[in-house]
Amino acid sequence: MRRSEPQAVLQEQFGSLEQQQHAARFGMWLFLTSEVLLFGALFALYTAYRLEYAEAFRSAARHNAVWLGTANTLVLITSSLFAAWAAHAVKSGRAIMAELCLLGTLALGGLFLFLKLTEYADHFRHGIYPGAYFRSPELGERGAGTFFTLYYFMTGLHGLHVVGGMSALAIMLLQISRGRYGPGRSTAVELSVLYWHLVDVIWIFLWPLFYLLT
């Protein structure tokens, strides 16, 4: 019952399953483009303020726990490996392997969020809040407040994307366990994993900007 072979259904507007799959992939890449548009504007904003307040940004970045940021980089990279293996396993008909890999991805996603929230909590204890609520006797300059406002906004938005990606992957996990996806029907799993990789790529750029350039 559980492992009856699921097959993709050809929609009438497509000539073949291959064409349908290509359209789905292309659509996903266009969606990812809209995400890049969103983050691209924020990266441009960061560029402008970094040049404006070079020294304040450097000293503010020293207040971020570099080990936490680096650990989170390794956590997300590893979660991407598990996600890639999960999509591969679904395509090769190994449902149990796919489920285990997705569980690994979800666990690492959860660990990422936990570490991020731990860092936020530590900042709050030191009066480092976003926007007008920023209070830090050590980092009194205006530039430091701008740095942390960007930090909360960009890492917060990224965190929401982690939650979104985890939700999509959790649904995939549930559907795989119900036997809804397999070698003949795996596009949804592949596209959800694609989204997770984009979340990884964005963090790969956030890490040096907020932790390394001190």
């Binding site: 890049v36 404006e52 040096p208």
Partner: protein, 90 residues
């Protein structure tokens, strides 16, 4: 894109990413001054490239998908370069 990539290629990509993370971290401790940002961003670009080509399958994707991905990177780079030039020229 018909035949799926081998699972071992993902492992190699992961090892490369871990290694590059280590190199980037090490380079940040060397205090390279004005070169620090360039080195860190260059390494981040290589890491992003590894994720895009191997994990996201662009190395054997149809032209149109590669085209979209390359334009994505190009537009963000152009946007940031334009903003940087504007602020620096004030």
């Amino acid at each position: 894109m018909s035949d799926p990539p081998r699972a071992s290629s993902y492992l190699w990509a992961w090892l490369t990413l871990v290694l590059l993370t280590g190199i980037s971290f090490g380079a940040s401790r060397l205090h390279l001054g004005r070169w620090a940002a360039l080195v860190a961003l260059a390494i981040a670009c290589v890491k992003g490239g590894v994720v895009l080509t191997v994990f996201m399958h662009l190395y054997r994707a149809p032209f149109v998908l590669r085209f979209v991905a390359i334009l994505n990177i190009a537009w963000v780079a152009l946007l940031c370069a334009g903003v940087a030039a504007d602020v620096a020229a004030r």
